[in-house]
Symmetry: C2
Subunit: 330 residues, 2 copies
């Protein structure tokens, strides 16, 4: 544990010093130097709010990293200034269980990782869902303050991770792959609720027909649902990672993401969405921390685990077990 | 505030004494006599686990109460014994804001309310979402212990109330109404995730064609999504509240609900689903109560509200505001 020079970190972040940005993110992700992290976030706050936050989700194998690298490079093609304008952040609530980071893999985004105008951050080494949501929110804030224009937040489509990503970003992009049958692998039941842009990926070679069919079907399916915030209706499009075919698909994807931003901003919904996300996050952190504090009392964690097991076996009602945990923590 | 005779309440509930059931539910819903409520739930616990729990949701005007009354009477048609076998419970997280109870309205379920074999409970007078989820869970437990066979939990399709209902029941029934166009009013984006049975209601008169079209479209839309727990695929059917047409629709609805139970039970998912619901509820109660306890310290509630407002206006980061609230509560 070393001392943290918050003022120096702040200067480094604002100057887009890579090492400083990386250290600042590590600081806000860790629970070790919380006072310093809060102080840094407080200082950086006035510089935040300008970056676009875009979530990318989909099952493993949908081609998210490849698409993200292509989209990042496509975005950078217009960036003339020699500064960091695109960042990729990974949210991986599963990494704790799987024992390793599976997202934001630099080796899978080799071009983007090497580009001086991009900042690719692998996922943190793990943590509970709540902790991941909190640390990613603060990492986004660091990148935003550093003057990054577009922050992509990548997650894997498992468990609750899409919900977490949706609580962090302005626009959710869902990457799916067509398969041979009528079914679309990789579309989860939550999709209709969360995804503003749906990308049918790997639309190339002998998959063009299947991808096109998937696009038509998804577009039809989405029509069954009422509009999202600000009257937005999900855009469904196809992309390919093949060099020739990719540019038009990427342009269309970029245009769809931009159209969503315009739609939200015109309706005043972008500000409202971000404000709701922040307020919800604030109370989530308070509740989790309040319990974390009680949990530190002797025996509370152990009795909580034992009672959970009894509830799981049907021996105790939830409210009865909760009251026993709370009695112990008194 | 009067003394509570828990043993007498327990006897009354087990004997299906209406007044005792009503008082027991009031006790577990209130926060006043928590020790008594916990004691009652502890005593009743061995008698619980047999009742079917069915959620009914849909927008206001979808005809939930009318359908529920018809379904309740239909269920009772086979009940020969003179005991309470059907109950209706309302979950209404919005009642606090709207200033009144809008669900479980006895006047809207006149026949069922008067039937000695049914117990209709209007929604409690309001409360926060978490509190409503907890008190409804315990009210279900009281009815279950009383030997009620089927407990319908009605909610209005606003905000997070469907998610709450889905966390309380075995099967979620979504009631929608067809409208003139291609769009289905009343279908929210969360539907694909939560509803095991979808009922296109008011399929009568000049709406038969629109309802049938809605059924076909919804069935097609549902095919885009992978199966739910235990491989279940949502059943979509039409119902009518008109006397002649209603019986076959109600039988089909009952059969779909029963098919879902069989599907869950065969896969061992019913036990697993209820266990997960209870465990999740336990920790939710612990976290909420932990915060509620901190909140009681002087000034904490006020500073929390003030900080929330600053977060909403974009003046503070969520984690910074949360840390200030927690510092105050230390």
């Amino acid at each position: 544990v070393t001392a943290v020079d918050v003022a120096a970190l702040e200067r480094g972040v604002l100057a887009q010093d890579r090492a400083a940005i990386a250290r600042a993110i590590t600081l806000v992700e860790s629970t070790a130097h919380q006072a310093h992290a809060i102080e840094l976030l407080r200082r950086l706050h006035p510089r935040t709010g300008r970056a676009r936050r875009i979530g990318i989700t989909g099952v493993p194998g949908a081609g998210k990293s490849t698409l993200l690298e292509a989209l990042g490079m496509h975005t950078l093609a217009r960036a003339s200034e020699p500064r960091i304008s695109v960042a990729v952040l990974a949210v991986d609530p599963s990494s704790q269980k799987s024992g390793g980071s599976i997202l934001g893999d630099k080796t899978r985004m080799a071009r983007l990782s090497r580009d001086p105008r991009a900042f690719v951050r692998p996922s943190p080494s793990g943590g509970v869902l709540g902790g991941v949501a909190r640390s990613s929110r603060d990492a986004i804030r660091v990148l935003d303050a550093a003057g990054v224009d577009v922050i992509f937040v990548e997650t894997v489509g498992v468990g609750q991770s899409e919900t977490v990503v949706a609580s962090l970003v302005d626009t959710v992009v869902w990457v799916v792959i067509p398969n041979a049958g009528d079914e679309l692998q990789g579309i989860k039941r939550g999709i209709a609720e969360l995804a503003e842009v749906i990308v049918v990926n790997k639309c190339d070679g002998d998959r063009v027909e299947a991808a096109e069919r998937a696009r038509v079907e998804l577009t039809a399916a989405m029509r069954h649902f009422p509009p999202m915030d600000a009257g937005w209706r999900p855009t469904v499009l196809t992309t390919s990672a093949l060099p020739g075919a990719s540019e038009s698909g990427l342009s269309a994807l970029e245009a769809a993401i931009e159209a969503h931003r315009v739609c939200l901003e015109t309706a005043g919904e972008l500000t409202r969405r971000r404000a709701s996300q922040e307020v919800a996050a604030m109370w989530r952190i308070v509740e989790e921390s309040a319990w974390a504090r009680l949990r530190q009392k002797a025996g509370v964690a152990a009795i909580g685990a034992a009672l959970e097991e009894r509830v799981r076996r049907g021996e105790l009602a939830a409210s009865v077990a909760a009251s026993e945990v709370l009695d112990r923590a008194r």
